[in-house]
């Protein structure tokens, strides 16, 4: 078996066990399980970094597959989670980031072999702006989604006077979830805008995409994102409404991502 395959299997193994451990450790209130799962995720992240770097050096920015892009997104999610865990002391984001990274890594297996060939003169800018700004914004959106999901769950219990599950005793308060949601939305929206704009500028140069449903969907997501950003920044909305909206935007973005790689212009199927 090729060493790259072994490396990728090790990444999937670490992410899967890590995600399972983080979720079970949190629900069962087992700090030792959570710590072990975090270490596994960290190990998976390190191996993943090596794997992605190796592929990048091998194929260069123009020759990377669709699977590579999906894996890069999974890597970004774990990076955001580890950063939030290490510097902000918000380990709860692992509840969503780790399983999503695992799912994305598994999803990338479905796309193996599809290669997205970019024109040489655009590849640097494309990678530097479009991909990275979108991935940062999706990473932020995942944080907002995780915090939003936990906010909605905890808030509905408190509001309706339903006893809280045991595992929530180790989890942060509603205000913390709301603050994470707010920071993630405020920081993520500018990146999403940048990513989308760079895509609109360069995409017509490479292929005809204006009438593509993916573009309409992206614009719709941007509109919702902008609305949420405005509500947070200007009106001072907070709490349940903003949490629900972050969940909805993330849900549509996730669908858009699947759609994107299944039928849209990021897939090789439409490539000449």
């Amino acid at each position: 078996m090729e060493y790259k395959t072994l490396l990728f299997i090790a990444v999937i193994f670490c992410y899967s066990l890590g995600a399972l451990g983080i979720v079970l450790g949190t629900l069962a209130r087992r700090p030792a399980v959570k710590s072990a799962a975090n270490l596994l995720t960290l190990a998976g992240f390190a191996l993943h970094s090596v794997f992605l770097l190796k592929l990048f050096l091998e194929f260069g920015p123009r020759g990377l597959s669709a699977a590579y892009h999906i894996q890069l997104l999974a890597w970004c999610l774990i990076l955001f989670y580890l950063a939030a865990w290490r510097w902000l002391r918000y380990p709860f984001l692992g509840m969503t980031a780790a399983p999503l990274a695992m799912l994305l890594s598994l999803f990338s297996l479905q796309l193996a072999g599809l290669r997205d060939i970019l024109p040489r003169h655009l590849s640097g800018l494309f990678f530097g702006l479009h991909i990275w700004s979108l991935y940062i914004s999706i990473g932020m959106l995942t944080m907002a989604f995780g915090a939003g999901l936990l906010f909605v769950y905890t808030e509905s219990k408190i509001k309706n006077k339903i006893p809280l599950a045991e595992f929530t005793k180790d989890m942060p308060s509603l205000s913390t979830y709301d603050r994470v949601n707010s920071v993630a939305v405020m920081a993520g929206f500018p990146f999403y805008t940048l990513g989308l704009m760079s895509g609109f500028i360069w995409a017509p140069m490479t292929r005809s995409v204006v009438e593509n449903p993916k573009v309409i969907l992206s614009l719709f997501i941007w509109f919702l994102y902008a609305l949420l950003f405005y509500q947070r920044a200007a009106i001072g909305y907070r709490g349940r409404k903003t949490a629900v909206m972050a969940i909805v935007i993330f849900g549509i973005s996730a669908l858009s991502l699947v759609f994107d790689y299944a039928v849209s212009h990021h897939s090789l199927q439409l490539m000449p």
Partner: protein
């Protein structure tokens, strides 16, 4: 049987409060009078408002009676008036009971933390009076570690079981940093004041007090190092606070949903937590339907407390399993204590024989270098150790496995003749068949 552990006592389950008062042993002077000279080797007295217990190590089965006599005498009462309310535990049952008490599994409010402190005080008093020795020392240290294990491995003490504390716990689920939250106390009342005290203890930034009588507001504000607010300023002031505890005697709600919409706008939708302890309620229940406002009335809080109590009871059954496991381990150690004199005697006997034989051999061998003598001594010591190893291991194993360790001790003492019994010339003469 050489030493046995006993526990005699009464508690809130077996005795009403009048009896508990009458037989309380909380006077520190009583520790001096523990029945040390009458076969009670070690003794500790635990006396709280819910229980009085004497834990003792005694030589014989009269120990519980001795303890009861001492107890009744100390309270200048007749022992017959005490007996109907008392329980007596011996050996493993006593260990199990004490561990359960230390872990707060036997408390009126399961999981309450005070009992452990009271037990530590009782142990300290026994130590000071030199009433706690080998067995009680080990028993109490073990009881403290069992209590810690039960608290960490179960959720026995994780949820609030008083209304005021439950309110504070809920506030902590809403606000991330209590040091940045501001509270307002509207009206007065024992429970509301208690909740405010809990909030202050949890470190909130400030307390405002609103009361129809401004002087009373000033008085309460002083108590919490806070600020008094005129009652007609109540609604505008709400925009400045995050937690509101209300307990007035008003017959109509004093805070309505329409008032709160404007307050929320001014607060930029920052969350608010209302605790309505008044009956009739001070706060319109519709307030809870507004986003970012959480309203709990007295019934809601009672429900939270009842659920928490039920949860603690569930956790207590897990705690009892830990107690059972630890009590078993302690009793094994206790049993091994019975073996100690026999083991010491066997080792001494072996060493004594080795010493005698070595001296005799050295005399016969004549002058010998020190190094050679040392080698001989080491060899003999090794032979003795190997010879006695198996009988000692057998004794320890039997002691752990069954209840008949005493029989095996006697047997081993007779085999090695550790008690220097004189053996008749023909010990089996009586058993031998007579010739026809």
């Amino acid at each position: 049987m050489d030493k046995e552990l006993y526990l005699v006592g009464l508690n809130y389950k077996t005795a009403p409060v009048e009896v508990r008062e009458r037989f309380a042993l909380s006077d520190p002077a009583l520790a001096d009078q523990t029945p040390q000279d009458s076969g009670v080797l070690e003794c500790m007295i635990l006396s709280t408002c819910n229980r009085v217990e004497l834990v003792a190590v005694g030589r014989d089965k009269d120990t519980p009676q001795r303890l009861l006599d001492f107890w009744a005498e100390a309270r200048q009462e007749d022992v017959s008036r005490l007996k109907p309310y008392v329980y007596v535990h011996q050996g493993p049952d006593a260990v199990r009971h004490l561990f359960a008490v230390a872990s707060s599994l036997d408390s009126m409010v399961v999981g309450e933390p005070q009992i452990l402190g009271q037990l530590k005080d009782a142990y300290r008093a026994a130590l000071e009076k030199r009433n706690a020795k080998t067995i009680l020392n080990r028993l109490l240290h073990k009881a403290f570690s069992v209590a810690k294990r039960v608290r960490t491995e179960t959720a026995i003490a994780s949820s609030a079981v008083s209304i005021s504390y439950a309110a504070v716990e809920l506030a902590k689920r809403i606000f991330d940093d209590m040091r940045e939250t501001h509270a307002m106390l509207i009206g007065a009342g024992e429970m509301a004041e208690l909740a405010a005290t809990h909030l202050v203890n949890s470190g909130i930034a400030s307390v405002r007090v609103a009361n129809r009588t401004f002087e009373r507001a000033l008085q309460l504000a002083k108590q919490y190092d806070g600020e008094a607010v005129h009652f007609d300023e109540l609604i505008p002031q709400l925009a400045k606070v995050d937690i509101v505890i209300s307990s007035t005697g008003a017959h109509e709600p004093i805070i309505r949903a329409k008032d709160m919409r404007a307050v929320l706008r001014r607060r930029k939708n920052k969350p608010m937590f209302f605790i309505d302890i008044a009956v009739p309620r001070d706060i319109d229940p519709d307030v809870n339907s507004l986003d970012n406002i959480y309203l709990y009335d007295i019934d809601d809080l009672k429900e939270v407390v009842e659920e928490n109590m039920a949860h603690r009871r569930e956790e207590a059954s897990r705690g009892r399993l830990i107690v059972e496991e630890e009590a078993l381990a302690f009793c094994t150690w206790l049993k091994s204590l019975e073996l100690q004199p026999t083991i010491v005697d066997i080792v001494r006997m072996g060493e004594s024989i080795a010493k005698e034989e070595l001296e005799r051999t050295l005399k016969r061998l004549g002058p010998m270098p020190d190094e050679s003598q040392e080698i001989l001594r080491a060899m003999l010591s090794s032979v003795v150790k190997k010879l006695i190893h198996e009988p000692i291991t057998f004794l320890k194993r039997r002691s752990e496995e069954d209840e008949a360790s005493e029989r095996h001790i006697v047997l081993l003492r007779r085999i090695f003749n550790l008690d220097d019994d004189r053996v008749p010339d023909d010990p089996h003469a009586g058993r031998r068949r007579k010739p026809r």
